[in-house]
């Protein structure tokens, strides 16, 4: 893949939605363990609405797809995940605006997205939040010079699994302190499904 196109963005969202619907129960159960038990329900509702929105529109630019994803997630997900995922996609949309999304621009968009999520959640790497997965993926994008699906998949997976042994200091799980150790962070798991889906689109190439 040289240029990330509208068609890729659509496939990315479609694959993500399928994974989230499939894993709705798992995400909710993870959240019941250390949070408030709504993550799977909220993400499933949000991505179902994303698909409804995208299926009814035609797009010229990837930026426009990202903007609709952002606005839909922000108004349909709620909780902490809504503003965080909404902000991430809004930053991607702003970075991509009106341009073809080549590798350097995609990386730039991810830099803005990660910065936006950190600012919105007042969070940094290592606090057992979805920032851990997004930052790890960004770091590999920055080190590399071309789209690499396998690298993205492995990176996201390792970062997601790593949240299990981390103590939460941000988000609802932070109230549990040491008791949050031993549980995966639900937001990191949903972010893993997002990047797993993106990695699949990249590997397919199209």
């Amino acid at each position: 893949m040289e240029i990330f196109q509208v068609e890729h963005a659509r496939k990315w969202m479609k694959a993500t939605n399928e994974r989230i619907q499939e894993k709705k129960q798992e995400l909710t159960e993870l959240d019941q363990a250390i949070g408030d038990g709504d993550h799977g329900i909220n993400m499933a509702r949000g991505f179902r609405e994303v698909m409804t929105k995208l299926d009814g529109e035609t797009y010229q630019h990837v930026a426009d797809v990202m903007k609709d994803v952002a606005m839909t997630l922000m108004s349909k997900v709620g909780g902490a995940a809504g503003p965080l995922y909404g902000t991430a996609f809004l930053k991607l949309s702003m970075a991509f605006k009106g341009q073809d999304v080549d590798y350097p621009l995609f990386t730039k968009g991810m830099e803005d997205a990660v910065a936006g999520v950190k600012q919105r959640g007042k969070s940094e790497v290592g606090e057992k939040t979805l920032v851990d997965v997004w930052s790890a993926v960004l770091e590999k994008l920055q080190e590399n010079d071309h789209f690499d699906g396998s690298l993205m998949l492995d990176t996201a997976k390792a970062a997601m699994e790593n949240t299990k042994e981390t103590m939460a200091t941000k988000g609802r799980a932070a109230y549990l302190k040491e008791r949050s150790i031993g549980h995966l962070d639900p937001g990191s798991v949903s972010s893993f499904y997002l990047f797993e889906s993106l990695a699949g689109v990249i590997r397919e190439g199209v």
Binding site: D38, I41, G78, G79, A81, P83, T169, K170, R179
Partner: protein
């Protein structure tokens, strides 16, 4: 799961419809939103008060909409913060030009969604201020974490800030008195059985017949300690001890709230209250006013929380001011 609902995905919409038809004289729903406002909103010249959060805490927050309390409450999905677009609609509906105060319970999602709405409202030229309630002493307050949670003490913030706005206080004055309440209110709760989010279909946690969870949150999130269930007197003692460790109430005038979490008989709440009153008297505190009932629930969770608010003359006067809110008629 056994619940009196039609469709687990529609509980919030169905509840709102029932709520506004129960109180047609005082509240209304903004069309196509989950926002409930005073029927007469926006009130000319008055600072608007907006609160809200996930549903499942009834009568919070819509029950506190009325003259002398909130101008609008925004209902999210069950235990899920409402989205920024909904909060923005509430802000726009209650702003009369005097500005709007957002009363937010301290949860990551609530803070983020309300902050985004505040930014959007400011971009539209509306003056917005916000306060964040964090009365739950079960959770450690630290600048490195999300900090303490907001629970039943929030109702006192609604009442007192609402009275201040009603008597014509400016946005800064209303915010200042809300912050004064937040500085002086502390709560802690205990649960004896869990609750089930309708769309999840399963309880959020499990407790054995002889167990209780101390320091429980109002979303079924785990508390700080699980132990053998204690007597009402022991529970009253443990909750008040933890509150006194956090804030010195010695020789103060206090308001007391014994709050049921959803499935606790009033009988048990009064039993807890009896002991709490004895403890307060013993420690030389003067109880100015007591509230026993359901104010900030957690669906059908069984258990209770104890809230203490330290009062000065200003707070007493505002606490006593009239309110027409369905869940806080005074």
């Amino acid at each position: 799961m056994k619940k009196i609902v039609n469709d687990p995905e529609r509980v919030v919409q169905d509840m709102i419809q029932g709520l506004v038809t129960a109180h047609p004289g005082s509240v209304k729903q903004l069309p196509d939103t989950t926002v409930i406002t005073r029927k007469d909103a926006p009130v000319s010249g008055k600072v608007g008060l907006v609160s809200g959060g996930g549903s499942g805490h009834e009568p919070a927050h819509a029950g506190y909409v009325g003259k002398g309390m909130l101008d609008a409450a925004v209902a999210g999905e069950v235990f899920t913060s409402p989205t920024p677009d909904q909060v923005l609609e509430a802000i726009k509906a209650v702003d009369s030009g005097a500005g709007v105060l957002l009363i937010i319970k301290n949860y990551t999602g609530d803070v983020m969604n309300f902050e985004m709405a505040a930014e959007m409202a400011e971009a539209e030229g509306i003056q917005v201020e916000k306060v964040v309630v964090n009365d739950d002493v079960a959770v450690e307050d630290s600048s490195f974490t999300s900090g303490r949670r907001g629970i039943a003490g929030t109702v006192f913030v609604h009442k007192i800030a609402g009275a201040m706005a009603e008597k014509g206080g400016s946005l800064q004055e209303v915010k200042a008195v809300a912050e004064k309440v937040i500085r002086n209110v502390r709560s802690m709760g205990v649960a004896t059985s869990p609750c089930t989010v309708p769309a999840a279909g399963k309880p959020s946690f499990e407790l054995a017949d002889d167990e209780m969870e101390v320091g429980i949150g109002i979303h079924g999130e785990p508390g700080i300690e699980r132990k053998k269930v204690a007597t009402a007197d022991e529970i009253a003692g443990e909750l008040t001890d933890k509150i006194f460790t956090d804030l010195d109430f010695a020789n103060s005038d206090v308001a007391v709230m014994i709050n049921g979490l959803g499935a606790t008989p009033e009988m048990e709440l009064y039993i807890v209250n009896g002991k709490v009153q004895a403890i307060l008297a013993d420690q030389g505190m003067n109880v100015y006013k007591t509230f026993v009932g359901e104010f900030m629930t957690s669906l059908e969770m069984a258990g209770c929380s104890v809230t203490l608010l330290k009062l000065d003359n200003q707070l007493k006067e505002l606490l006593d001011a009239p309110s027409t809110a369905p869940a806080f008629y005074s």
